[in-house]
């Protein structure tokens, strides 16, 4: 049995559903990220787990125990909010000590644990400051220390990185990931940033309009997105219309703008949509004919836009030191059969 179980979670505001039937489980020590566009119900799901939002229906259980009748202050959950929600009238030490005070931890033990927590987030030098005397990144680390010091059963992070600048965000992603591994705490991260979700989590759940569209390890969800929404939200992709010519189990023969190709997956009907990642498309002697429209240098890669009969395709090629293809050049695009996935919308 999984450590956290969420079954059929529904939350309505008036008649509109914010969360519309969400099921997932998280194993002990696992890092799950809930990824989705703004307003898709991520925070609502998280706050229902924390107990601050009462679900319209559904079941939430932690370690086999149903949470319906358990008040938020008895759930032993650590939360880092998007706004950090530090206590403005308390120093860093007082903020971090608050949860221990509530648990009536003896003063000496409390001081030790607060010091350890501040050391964990490298803030020992700022113990006596007030939150408004700290930078965004420091405030975030106070919030993290405050949530971790109570040794929670579950750590919930609600877009903790979204108010940090890009460089700091990259550092904090790695740092939070390291800390999570070190203290081996079951964690759910809510984010609308796909890089963050892929980078940090053991498993990613992609949400849209109150539902989980797909869930799995980052590379699997990325490689086999299953739906057009997921493939577009998780990184960039090319969506191409194709006609089905023949089927065999798990494999299809298709025609894309008159060119015959193979793809993996199952589909009914005569037409379907393919998702092909830009980095899987190569220039070759044969394949889909096209014309280079533009070429952008991205450091490690070149990004081409190629006009074809099937629409404009994005192609990412590694920079191997040579000159790129010229704009206007005629090319053929090809990709391995395993790179073309059938998606549904």
């Amino acid at each position: 049995m999984a450590f956290l179980e969420v079954q059929g979670l529904v939350k309505h505001y008036g008649s509109t559903p914010a969360v519309d039937g969400v099921d997932f489980t998280v194993e002990r020590g696992e890092f799950l990220s809930l990824l989705g566009p703004s307003g898709c119900g991520k925070s609502t799901t998280l706050m229902a787990i924390a107990g601050f939002i009462e679900p319209t229906s559904g079941r939430i259980a932690i370690d086999g125990r149903d949470m319906a009748a358990v008040k938020p202050n008895r759930r032993n959950i650590g939360i880092v909010f998007q706004s950090f929600a530090l206590f403005p009238h308390m120093t860093v030490t007082e903020n971090v000590a608050f949860g221990l005070e509530m648990r009536r931890v003896a003063a000496a033990d409390r001081a030790n644990r607060v010091a350890d927590a501040l050391q964990l987030v490298r803030l020992d030098a700022f113990a006596d400051r007030y939150p408004k005397q700290l930078s965004g990144g420091q405030q975030q680390r106070v919030a993290l220390a405050r949530a971790l010091v109570i040794r929670p059963d579950l750590l919930l992070l609600d877009e903790p990185m979204s108010s940090l600048d890009a460089k700091l965000r990259d550092e904090m992603r790695v740092e939070i990931r390291d800390i999570q591994r070190r203290v081996a705490i079951t964690t759910i991260l809510v984010t609308h940033d796909q890089t963050e979700a892929l980078l940090m989590a053991d498993r990613v759940a992609v949400m849209d309009r109150g539902r989980i569209q797909c869930i799995g390890p980052p590379h699997e969800v990325y490689e086999k997105p299953g739906s057009a929404f997921v493939s577009n939200f998780l990184g960039r992709t090319n969506l191409i219309a194709a006609e089905i010519i023949a089927r065999s189990p798990g494999r299809l023969r298709l025609a894309v703008a008159g060119v015959e190709i193979e793809a993996v997956g199952e589909a009914t009907g005569e037409r379907t949509t393919l998702s092909i990642r830009p980095e899987r498309v190569a220039f070759g002697e044969q394949g889909l004919p096209g014309r280079v429209e533009s070429c952008l240098f991205m450091g490690g890669q070149w990004m081409y836009r190629v006009a074809t009969q099937a629409g404009e395709l994005v192609v990412l090629r590694p920079n191997e030191g040579g000159a790129p293809l010229a704009t206007g050049a005629s090319v053929h695009l090809a990709w391995p059969a395993a790179a073309a996935h059938i998606v549904h919308d």
Partner: protein
Amino acid sequence: MTRRNGPLALVFHAAFIAFILAPLVVVCLVAFTPEAYLSIPTTRWSLRWFKAIWGSDFIPAFWISVYVAAAAASLALLVSVPAAIATARFQFPGREALVAYFLSPLMVPHVVLGVALLRFMAEVGLTANAFGLIMGHVVIIMPFTLRLALAALAGMDRHVEWAAGSLGASDLTVFRRVTLPIILPGLAGGWLLAFIQSFDELTMTVFVASPGTTTLPVRMFQYITDNIDPMVAAISAALIGLAILLMAVMERVYGLERLLAGKGGD
């Protein structure tokens, strides 16, 4: 961006400020006259009218006003905080109506309230009673304490309370350790505004005050209906001086702007 005012705007602002300040300046000047009638002293200054206040019945009236205003402001605050929390934090039918009801005394003329209260208190036997007067003032100043309490709560991040809850604090502890300290500056501002409103209130109080509960504005009003002498000017000047002193102290301790803007938190 700062833009400099044109000459016309400067003249307008100066005229406006002069218009507000001129009566106060005149009253303060008159207060120092040595004459027995209202006049602006030109050759000689005197403290005679300030000395006359001492030992007059204006002093007990002043203390009654302070006592009534402090009691009424505190009571109003005590009622406003739970009301503000209920309406700011919970959804329930009639929520808007409740707020509108609490704020409605702002819209009712004080004369009407005075007549109504006089009638009501006669019915329930509260006339000639400081309690009745205080309750009347609570009704009038409640909109101020409630408005500032609501503003302080609205300016506070809900998640800060949730954070405290998730760390193990009960609802009561969250309020005591987190919510209250954060909204305290807003509440203090509300209390101060309410105190000033109550201290200043004449129209309604005239109806309800009895010989034992004559507040300073009522006493002054009675006085000038019989006498025209610089005594009231001296009292006014003394009150202005007191207000300036209080404001200076408050500015030092809290920062007035923060207090009167009713902002919580930082």
